[in-house]
Symmetry: C2
Subunit: 361 residues, 2 copies
Amino acid sequence: MRLIGPKEIEDIALGAALLGAGGGGDPYIGKLMALGAVKECGPVRLIDPDEVPDEQLCMPIAMMGAPTVLNEKAVNGSEYQEIIRMIEDGMDNKVYAIMPIEAGGVNSMLPIVAAARLGLPLVDVDGMGRAFPELQHVTFTIGGMHATPMALVDEKGNTNYMTTITNKWAERIGRVICMECGGSVSIALYTMTGKMMKEFGVHGIVTRSENLGRAIRHIKDCPEGMTPEEYFLDYTGGHYLFKGKISDVLREVRNGFNFGRVKLEGIGAEKGRQAYVEFQNENLCCVVDGQIKATVPDMICLVDTETFIPVPTDALKYGKRVMVVGLECFHLWRTEAGIDLAGPRYFGLETDYIPVEERCK
Amino acid sequence: MRLIGPKEIEDIALGAALLGAGGGGDPYIGKLMALGAVKECGPVRLIDPDEVPDEQLCMPIAMMGAPTVLNEKAVNGSEYQEIIRMIEDGMDNKVYAIMPIEAGGVNSMLPIVAAARLGLPLVDVDGMGRAFPELQHVTFTIGGMHATPMALVDEKGNTNYMTTITNKWAERIGRVICMECGGSVSIALYTMTGKMMKEFGVHGIVTRSENLGRAIRHIKDCPEGMTPEEYFLDYTGGHYLFKGKISDVLREVRNGFNFGRVKLEGIGAEKGRQAYVEFQNENLCCVVDGQIKATVPDMICLVDTETFIPVPTDALKYGKRVMVVGLECFHLWRTEAGIDLAGPRYFGLETDYIPVEERCK
């Protein structure tokens, strides 16, 4: 157990923005909420997965919605009391700890807000090791777990408690409610036993986010003999994919998602080459001069070429210079079930999944 | 208390189709389900509103959705166990009796199915005295009551329990779930005390439906000196609006509703005149030669000119000969709050509400 206060929150937010692979919403708003919550309620206890007894319940907290909307439509703060009441009543059991379900943007922060406000510990685990656009895209689906009961509240005070026959139905019904309620809602789903959390969760993800964030923040203090870029790639385990200037951003909010494509004109050694990255909330694939360099479920991250600060899809702007980096996904995503669930073909890309490290050879 | 068996069900279904004012779905499917339920579980006890103690709970049961879909997508029979469990758990109280919320088509029948299958009495009351397309269109909204908690299940087994800040939000969120689940779902909403039910409900509506149905069935045995048409108008308290042959039906399923317009060419004494009726699930207005003859909240009913059997909007067909009849709505609909809630302007008609009996003078 260790405490998460303002300093840790800064680093987690920054690192989670990288793991968010373009999605999860700008962590800035989430960070302000997390800072406010720990200021008001005190630091949050971060516990290891092994500190949760097998039979105790962990409740993931997240926002559902298009990242562009998340930035404009905050939570009102009382959502989590209502959510935990619904889940505890519905499951007839107490919640032992809060956990994140995805390590991306605002969804790395809101579980901290919930843990602080509810006085519960936060588990150092998630269900993706990154961010994904749809509710069923979690390792716990691979583990055969139900997404529901799902509790859903909006900032106006509408509440919803649902059970569905499949996790895809939780996504479908949750998504239409989310859209009708203005494009973003607070949710708890996949409430699970400690045993399930330990078996299928991505352990240590909060700490990983924090370490990544700290490294980015101190990028200029990189070890002698290394450029900041080399240090960044070494530290993150990232595979260099491309470096360029944003020449075009196509963006569309459709069915409650941010869809789009960002085009890049090569700079430096890449001069004369062209690349694009497609996204659905998160980046889906990176194509350089017509050749696929990386696809989901691996993470495709755009970072500023100077500061190495991650650039989420909703912050893409003409003229910005970015490096595109591929990060290897959690091993469960590389199983047949993982690729079926969140591989390139699920997102409409006409290619098999080939791990980013092989594509980059 | 009296028993509702197969004979009563036949008459209620027929009469409710008239009060449905074109909507509520073809009662045929609902009737088959009600007949099956009483055959299997025994007749249903119909009780007067006054037989319900003030503090006991009455749970309205209905289907939500476009009538054209209701006809093709039945209930699986186990929905009501799930619905009552959600409502009783959520309200931490037992349900004393089932009641219809609208007296139209399939929604006059499903409360009988639920009462039979749950072994509960059915109250001789509803919240409209007719059918209306949206959830907030009930006398209980005029009485200041909340539509939620609302329990919603689909035939696949997805369940949903919601509370909303307004009844319009229950409609909005319920409607998108309904649409996502295929266009129709089973719901319980406005679960209320006996006191509220007695104060704002439309008393005796099941019996009225039954009497209307019996009269239509025996229309040929009308009293001497009266034509069947005269007897029909006299018995129903209906105002004659038009008689014609259907010359065109415009139909659109949009946002989960059946919208449309039926055009009529005058026959008999009406030869050379033209009329149309607009609908949103239910008939909204009747216009004859450019002059409005009736609007919501009064009931506009199309009946076969020979059999006087009501013709719901989803059964409108080219060439069919119909009489259009206006029935006076329940008095609460004629209050300012009632007209705001379900008057012509709510449905986009550019006219004030004028009672049908005045328009027909």
